[in-house]
Symmetry: C2
Subunit: 273 residues, 2 copies
């Protein structure tokens, strides 16, 4: 017995990818649990950001026309007031709603406040330092597309439009079956000759978790076709089963035959053709 269908890794991958359907199970999760998760369905904004005309700087809201001619050596004087009209200004903070009548914000850095009079040292244009409604995100806009893997900054965008929960694809469940009668559990003391600690299953489980899946690592299964088959069929919820060992040309290598008897053996050995 030899590797009968040994094929190159890229071809094996192609074979696998063309043989399986993407998973489509969906779950609803709070956004703070969605780092690294894949969005199911596009996400549309149902508010504008900002949802009001917003000061984009700390400073003074003004009618821009009132700053005409202001410069470093020639300040314009405006009176600090509770209303915007000719000759007045109002204190605003980054993010404050713009007061009615104001169309621009003079940065704090370009002013000097003396009692209730503000010296303005820069001439500014209308809408300078003002965030328009919907400037960041417009209501009705698709902000994140299905299939995107969410990063914390994407989740902050969701938070900014008040989204609390979203649909994401469920993580695939990989069941891992370490096989081999030479294997012993990691808590065994004093190895006998021929005994080896199980490590491949553990490592596979950790990579699967790291790469976005759930992993269920089974106990070691000895080299028996019946036991291997039993381990496979007793995990019907698995989206993927990963076996380790038992795939070569030895007398005890039963995995390919078991897989073949239960379905289709796509690949039996990866390497040089």
């Amino acid at each position: 017995m030899m590797f009968k269908k040994r094929i190159r890794a890229d071809k094996a991958k192609e074979l696998f990818l063309s043989s399986f359907q993407p998973l489509s199970k969906i779950e609803v999760l709070p956004i703070e649990d969605c780092d690294g998760r894949i969005i199911a369905g596009n996400i549309t904004a149902n508010i504008d950001v900002p949802h009001y005309q917003r000061a984009a700087m700390d400073g003074f809201a003004v009618m821009a026309s009132e700053t005409l001619g202001a410069g470093t050596g020639s300040p314009v004087m405006l009176r600090l007031a509770n209303i915007i009209e000719k000759g007045t200004c109002m204190r605003v903070h980054t993010g404050s709603p713009m007061p009615g009548g104001a169309d621009a914000v003079v940065m704090m850095e370009d002013t000097v406040l003396r009692d209730d009079m503000v010296e303005v040292f820069a001439q500014i244009h209308p809408f300078k330092n003002v965030g328009a409604i919907g400037e960041d995100i417009q209501k009705g806009e698709i902000i994140l597309n299905e299939g995107r893997m969410l990063r914390p900054c994407d989740i902050a965008i969701l938070a900014s439009i008040g989204v609390e929960k979203i649909n994401v694809f469920k993580k695939p469940l990989a069941v891992i079956i370490p096989t081999g009668e030479e294997l012993v559990p990691r808590n065994k003391k004093n190895l006998l000759e021929g005994e080896v600690y199980e490590t491949n299953g553990l490592m596979s489980a950790m990579y699967i978790k790291k790469w976005g899946g759930n992993a269920r690592l089974l106990d070691i299964v000895t080299d028996s076709p019946e036991k291997i088959k039993e381990a496979i069929i007793s995990n019907p919820d698995a989206d993927m089963i990963v076996t380790s060992g038992g795939t070569s040309v030895g007398k005890r290598d039963y995995v390919p035959a078991v897989v073949g008897s239960m379905g289709k053996l796509l690949v039996n050995g990866v390497g040089i053709e």
Copy 2:
């Protein structure tokens, strides 16, 4: 009031790194929980891997000298036996202990078995397909150094020498304080003008977790020096405190003053000098 000490990001980083001591709190964890964790102390192997002379292939253990002259067209015949002597061989699997007297393994692929006679089609050297004791890892060898960030493949190495628990550095705890009276919690419905959902704190917490820390995201703190100070001092277990907002030149930007009053303000604004 302006950013008084605005400095470049690389200089700010230098200042920070030279002002802090590395954390040295240690915890003991099962290796399967150590992906991404940092080892505290070197790790030394206390067994050899393999710990016995090991067959490295499926095939037949032989005295290599018995295969002299074997080739594709001229097999040597050996008798399948329970002992290694002139003219005999024994079945071995990958990982099996080598039988006494045997010094090499003929790969299954280079043989044909007829009843209890094995035709060997390849001449092999002593120690061919045999793993020596300590070939992978030698007892007493340092296998992983302090400061290494563990990957699943490192953890598999630990498992292969029977290590169940290791010392790792504790994750740093970052306490995150979102500040700003414009901020509202993400579960508030219907924003008023001037209200903004808190997102920076959430995002910071998620990045901190992703990058290997623990994060504690506090409730929003309004723009009040007393409240900010209170939030800081009520988290004495924090290894790092991250504030968001309140650091600019506005009337409500109290964070730098609060930090300065409690310790040393290293940087007040990052950007072009």
